[in-house]
């Protein structure tokens, strides 16, 4: 039955053989960094170029011009419509996620300028319950679309998600058509979506707004996959291709316009926003 799963949340960080690597230790080359070193290097390993997961607020700081960020929809929080209880209550998981990340949900949205170009910005945080998309994420993303549409500006989304928020049951699945509808309304208003996919962008988020980008940019080495790789592995019972479902193979296979290393992202987005600023 496990091959029937097509959405799964894999909220664990990649683990080494030991299974308990420090989050500041590079999983590729084992280099270790202090918090401030990692922040300085926008969470990219100086030795091997590995892209660590990056907190949403740090991403906003990296991309938005200083002082330009105006966060929106901060009041929206997840509810617990099913009274969901697995090994622990969903409501408890939510509180814990908020305490750990300092975020109200797995996404922050707001207005900003990037390289001088006004835009709307929506950034996901994998540390908040694996970046899973529940009703609150769907609503905040949709409001970002509306905000972009109202102001006639592009929306830049930065995704990082293990998939749907299972604890909200079928309502988490409904966030797929909900966010797609928001993007389509925004498209009809003439605003483009620039989708930046970071590690990992999977399942429900990949199968909704992230792949609807008019331009799609991926960070190097990011896992971009609909089903989880373990599920695919179980289905296949064959060795997976070397760079299976990573940004690089997604680029080769025609699903991504560019693979852009994190430090270059601000200048690439500036260029793109400049081009779309010309839209009629």
């Amino acid at each position: 039955m496990s091959e029937r799963i097509d959405v799964s949340i894999e909220s664990k960080q990649p683990e080494g053989p030991s299974g308990k690597r420090h989050p500041n230790t590079c999983p590729v080359c084992e280099s270790h960094y202090r918090d401030d070193e990692l922040a300085e290097a926008v969470w990219v390993c100086g030795q091997c170029g590995h892209h660590f997961s990056m907190p949403a607020r740090a991403r906003v700081d990296q991309l938005a011009d200083a002082g330009s960020w105006q966060e929106e929809a901060t009041e929206i929080r997840s509810d617990d419509p099913l009274g969901f209880f697995d090994l622990r209550p969903y409501s408890e998981r939510l509180v814990e996620a908020e305490l750990n990340t300092g975020l109200g949900e797995a996404i922050v949205v707001g207005s900003a300028t990037i390289g001088g170009h006004a835009c709307e910005l929506a950034v996901m945080d994998f540390a908040f319950m694996g970046g899973s998309m529940g009703s609150a994420v769907g609503e905040k993303f949709s409001r970002a679309c509306d905000s972009a549409a109202e102001r006639g500006l592009p929306l830049v989304s930065v995704s990082a998600s293990g998939g749907a928020r299972m604890q909200e049951g079928i309502l988490s699945l409904m966030q797929l058509p909900k966010t797609v509808a928001a993007v389509e309304d925004m498209h009809d208003a003439g605003s483009p979506l620039i989708s930046v996919m970071t590690h990992p962008t999977t399942a429900g988020v990949l199968a909704s707004f992230a792949t609807l980008g008019d331009v799609i940019i991926a960070e190097p080495g990011a896992l971009l996959i609909f089903a989880g790789p373990r599920v695919v592995q179980q289905t296949t019972r064959e060795k997976l291709p070397e760079d299976f479902a990573l940004s690089e193979s997604n680029f080769r296979l025609g699903h991504v316009d560019a693979v852009v290393p994190r430090p270059e992202l601000p200048s690439v987005l500036t260029r793109l926003l400049g081009l779309f600023a010309n839209a009629q």
Binding site: S2, G134, G169, L171, T211, I225
Partner: protein
Amino acid sequence: MRSEAELRLRERLSKLRSMRLLSGARLDGELERLERQLELMQAEPTEEEIWRSVELARHQDRPYTLDYVERLFEDFFELHGDRAQGDDQAIVAGLGRFEGRTLAVVGHQKGRDLKERTARNFGMAYPEGYRKAMRTMRLADRFGFPVVTLVDTPGAYPGVVAEEHGQGGAIAASQAVMLRLTVPTVACIIGEGGSGGAIAIAVADRVLMQENAIYSVISPEGCAAILWRDASQARRAAEAFKPDAAHCLELGVIDGIVVEPEGGAHEDHDEAARLLGESVREALDELDGVPRDELRRRRRAKFRSLGVYA
């Protein structure tokens, strides 16, 4: 949350009750069906009943898309292929006449025997399947044919080639296409409404669900494996995430419940088809006369309203 669907149903019931004086047996049957629907809508299923739905939704004798197509649509002409990569038999698409009117039909198709199951990939589609669905729905839009989709899949196929062909992007694009159509659209979950693979063709003006179908973001087994770290806790998982029709209706995810024959749709394919046909006709009737742009506007607004947050 359930009020709109319930109100619609109550209205129709009272209309039928008043017509009963004039008409005969068919109306009696109709009345009975609607009363049963109302009952279902108000039910609060137990864990037992939820699990029974999971079992019936997957029952090997349950009618599949083509079983309904052959009973409900005249002159069915199947459309094949996505015009680029192949013809995915896990999804059936075509044109057919329903009560005198041409519709486009798109549905997942499982197989009855081992050979067909393999050919149909157990109803798990590749991106090719969703691209065939999109092509068909765009064609329907061009010629003003309403679209009916029948949803019955464990999920989109989680394979290497499916990923390489852009499974996530195809599912997103198919939803976008459905949200752009300006013809009436009706979806019905007739078995397993499994996650992204289901929603890809279920973004309709009216979403119906058969009494014993399930609709969920993940399979009970998958959910149990991840959250309980034990796939055998599937029953417990199903109770927790409530994939049954009554709960889906309560959450506003579906607009109506389609009655099944006593014991489940597998007990009587003809009667199951008749009952499905009635509900599809009602849904189409409700959508008739709505201007095309307004259909699209309402459809988007409806899906944008789904979710519960604080």
